[in-house]
């Protein structure tokens, strides 16, 4: 690869070392870490993982907008993990500021909180941050590369830069002659990156805001897209694991039968389990099944009743975690409305079971895996193997769904433990669906208690307490990162809602650590959006007010109010419904995005049928309307499916659900008609992968109430009512 150029992070405050500089070959230059140009073509580096949310396309579009290339003219590469790719937007959601609060002090605090994330070079895909993080950074990178290429063309032709323009990966000379970017690569390699003063005005955009075709869409429609599970290397062997379903140590095991099975090459103990290495994945899984083991006890309560009891016991002064919202006097109500809500553990269960391929040699470790945390993997595998982090190379793979699953790296650690024993042989470890389910770091279990009051047809008091274990503490404990202070996720999606209720308090109670938990699409808001909005719906009903009109009356944030109004229009909210039908609204502001959902249901003799779903969301700026629609629609369907029929429960310390027959979520026949609308009134640009989830479940519960008079306060709803 001769004569290439790499365009880098120059414009963004003080840059981290450009990771492309290190691998640079003769004739290549590095100017930004996001654009690589060689005589073979143009590669855009898209460091945020793509788990189906279209992150690669969105990142590429932001760079391409300023670079003046078409999306069909470029290749993309997730790049190597590097501090330069740290996530700017991640820290702001860790702070107890409302996302609707954009005053000077809040913004200052956000930028200060950003510093440690930058310092650590934390490269994480999550929290719907890909777009807010890259929105400016990636455009600056594209602009820098463009201007540097123009400078190279000026040098080559002797023409002044001002006379040059760019289009479709070419510099255009005044006489119309086109000079391709790739032909300028080696010359551009020798000049300093050109400093760009301003980004283009949105009115000049060619890509952003217009419907785009995802760059992976043809590959994904023709079976040509490779995922981590499809990695094939010369001499590779396949591994399967049998892990303690109680997530503890192995007392003893017998693999005598497994050892003799066809294709089995080795049996190697791994942390909390045993692995089988064979010449075919199926043979490895079969042999793993044949192992007999005596599993140690679970490091958490063995039975579900104990988990619920622990939550119930946490509504106490000594478990108080936060009270970011406390206004008026919530004790004033004399005839309080009391209710209790519950939300279960949930598996992530993306369709691609987790997997990792690892090759250990004497000098380096190579890891091929779909991951949201490449830098943590480097650190963890370094600690596990004794190799220097610089000798650990993570090759990010396309991800077949995550929903937060790939914020964990247990599978990589297991694969490395095996590969350390089999140096020189690439090992692909694929968890069986059953292991994937049993070993999942699930969504949190949570409980909420409402004490509220109404007066003169209005909601007057809402006092909501929420108890759950700390998601962030559980998750970060596996990354060796201690977390101090209150966990804002315990109350996220509840304390920060844009409503003016005169007496209004949200209290977070931190339950003890129970089963290990992790971030699940929309994190705290996945449970709290349900709690808060259902509680509000109950109060509105008690006040005798209209559910939508009263939410709008209480709303104190313009973009949120607009979202409620629009969903009302879309669903023709006040139109009459037939006997047995019902309409419910749900609202949640999460990750800075207000999202309102209306669900229409019919109570049929065979159970509840979902007829229609309407959703409106405001992300400030829509990068690609096609993908926006897909993400909101997918989020709503994801929220509904799990609310209807999913839970992970523990008995004897083991998850009772092993595969999709026990964990169905939504199937096609249950899926309502879905209509989505995007608004752009918000002050900040926000990501859209998660905010569709939290309002879906309450909208359905509220619709079921409207149709049947039955309040459902616990997910999954099929414990209380049948569905068609």
């Amino acid at each position: 690869m001769l004569g290439g150029v790499v365009f880098g992070a120059v414009m963004y405050k003080i840059p981290h070392r450009n990771p492309l500089q290190g691998d640079k070959q003769e004739g290549q230059a590095a100017i930004t870490p996001y654009v690589l140009i060689t005589p073979d073509g143009i590669t855009l580096i898209t460091p945020r993982a793509d788990k189906g949310q279209g992150a690669y396309s969105v990142q590429a579009a932001l760079i391409a907008e300023e670079l003046d290339v078409r999306l069909d003219q470029i290749n993309i590469d997730p790049g190597a993990p590097a501090p330069a790719y740290y996530n700017t937007a991640l820290a702001s959601d860790l702070l107890p500021f409302r996302s609707t609060n954009t005053n000077y002090l809040t913004e200052l605090a956000r930028s200060i909180a950003d510093a440690p994330v930058k310092l650590l070079g934390i490269q994480i895909t999550g929290g719907s941050t890909t777009v807010p993080d890259g929105y400016e950074k990636l455009r600056w990178a594209g602009a820098t590369a463009r201007e540097t290429l123009k400078a190279a063309a000026a040098q080559q032709t002797g023409l002044p830069v001002a006379q040059l323009t760019t289009r479709d990966a070419e510099v255009i000379l005044p006489d119309g002659t086109a000079v391709s970017y790739v032909s300028l690569a080696s010359r551009a390699a020798d000049i300093d990156p050109v400093k760009v003063d301003a980004l283009r005005d949105p009115s000049e955009w060619r890509l952003i805001g217009k419907p785009m075709q995802r760059i992976d869409i043809t590959a994904k429609s023709t079976g040509r897209q490779d995922y981590g599970i499809d990695v094939r290397l010369p001499g590779m062997l396949h591994a399967a694991v049998r892990l303690n379903p109680r997530r503890g140590p192995v007392n003893d095991y017998k693999a005598t039968q497994a050892e003799t099975m066809r294709g089995v090459k080795a049996i190697i103990p791994v942390t909390d389990g045993i692995s089988v290495i064979a010449d075919n994945s199926w043979r490895a899984m079969q042999a793993a099944q044949a192992i007999k083991a005596d599993w140690g006890p679970a490091p958490y309560p063995a039975e579900m009743v104990e988990h619920w009891q622990a939550l119930a016991d946490s509504f106490a002064e000594d478990h108080l975690d936060s009270q970011f919202l406390d206004q008026g006097d919530v004790t004033a109500t004399d005839t309080p409305i009391i209710a209790e809500y519950r939300a279960p553990y949930l598996a992530h269960a993306p369709l691609e079971p987790i997997n990792a391929t690892v090759l250990v040699t004497d000098t380096r470790i190579d890891i091929w895996t779909g991951t949201q945390i490449p830098r943590f993997i480097q650190a963890n595998i370094s600690a596990l193997s004794g190799f220097d982090p610089d000798d650990i190379h993570v090759h990010g793979q396309m991800i077949g769904g995550s929903f937060g699953h790939r914020l964990e790296d247990q599978v990589v650690r297991h694969a490395t433990e095996i590969a350390m024993q089999m140096r020189g042989t690439p090992i692909k470890l694929t968890y069986s669906r059953e292991e994937d389910c049993a070993q999942d770091f699930t969504r949190q279990i949570a409980m909420a208690r409402l004490r509220g009051g109404v007066r003169d047809g209005k909601v007057e008091t809402c006092d909501l307490g929420i108890a759950m274990p700390s998601i962030i503490a559980s998750q970060m404990s596996r990354q060796g990162v201690p977390i101090a202070g209150p966990d804002a996720q315990i109350v996220a999606g509840a304390w920060d809602q844009p409503f003016d209720i005169p007496n209004y308090r949200v209290t977070g109670y931190r339950a003890p650590d129970l089963a290990p938990i992790s971030s699940w699409r929309s994190v705290g808001a996945s449970t709290n959006g349900f709690f808060h909005d259902c509680a509000l719906d109950e109060l509105i009903h008690a006040a005798g007010a209209d559910p939508l009109a009263e939410r709008i009356r209480l709303c104190n944030h313009d973009p949120s109010r607009k979202v409620l109004e629009v969903v009302g229009e879309m669903s023709d909210w006040s139109a009459a419904m037939d006997e047995g039908q019902g309409r419910g609204v749900g609202f949640c502001l999460s990750f800075g995005v207000p999202c309102a959902v209306v669900i229409e249901v019919t109570n049929t003799p065979r159970g509840i049928r979902l007829d229609k779903a309407f959703a409106a969301a405001d992300v400030g700026r829509i990068i690609d309307p096609v993908n926006f629609e897909a993400q909101v629609s997918g989020g709503v369907i994801f929220g509904l499916g799990h609310a209807i029929n999913c839970e992970i429960t523990y008995a004897d310390g083991m998850a009772e659900q092993a595969n999709y027959h026990q964990y169905e979520a939504m199937r096609l026949y249950q899926c309502p008609q879905v209509e989505i609308r995007g608004l752009e009134n918000g002050e900040r640009i926000c990501g859209v992968g998660e905010p569709g989830v939290p309002p879906a479940a309450p909208a359905l519960a509220n619709a079921i109430f409207a149709a049947t008079g039955q309040r459902i306060r616990e997910m999954p709803f099929n414990k209380h009512i049948d569905f068609v």
């Binding site: 075709q213 994904k220 023709t222 040509r224 069986s432 989020g635 994801f638 199937r667 096609l668």
Partner: protein, 152 residues
């Protein structure tokens, strides 16, 4: 043992109980069919055997009688099957992991029913799980493909 996949004859040496899915993926390197559940619950592994949609994770290769077509054999980026073209037009895929199976199931279905109603589409494709929730676009793409196939 011999088997024919996408028009090519292959010689394999495996136990007859090995599911077709793993023969395709690990023995022949044909990775379009995906592993999702291994117990006929998700449909990610769907292939055609003599034109019929089959869950390859549940079919012991020894019991295979007929020619196998996988997503790779249905069409290619250069020569798309009408269903693949509709899937691209509607941009159905999110993570895309289920879509090989969705497309193979839809292709076999439209082969026997070229003017399906919504209820028929729902029934025919409900055994294929999509964790990303692409169902509304699946419905739309099946209808577009049906219309296109009817024209042809």
């Amino acid at each position: 043992m011999k088997l024919k996949v996408n028009g090519t004859e292959h010689q394999i040496d495996v136990e007859p109980e090995m599911p077709l899915l793993w023969v395709l993926r690990d023995e022949l390197g044909i990775t379009g069919p995906k592993y999702g559940c291994g117990i006929a619950q998700c449909g990610a592994c769907t292939v055609h055997v003599d034109g019929q949609a089959v869950r390859s994770c549940q079919l012991p290769v020894g019991a295979l009688a007929g020619e196998v077509t996988t997503i790779e054999g249905l069409g290619s980026p250069e020569a798309l099957h009408a269903i693949q073209a509709a899937w691209i037009e509607h941009q159905v895929a999110q993570c895309g992991y289920c879509q090989s199976g969705q497309i193979m199931a839809a292709a076999a279905f439209l082969d026997v029913n070229d003017a399906p109603t919504d209820a028929e589409i729902d029934r025919a494709l409900s055994a294929n799980l999509c964790r990303c929730g692409t169902y509304p676009r699946i419905r739309a793409a099946v209808k577009t493909a049906a219309a296109k196939l009817a024209e042809a």
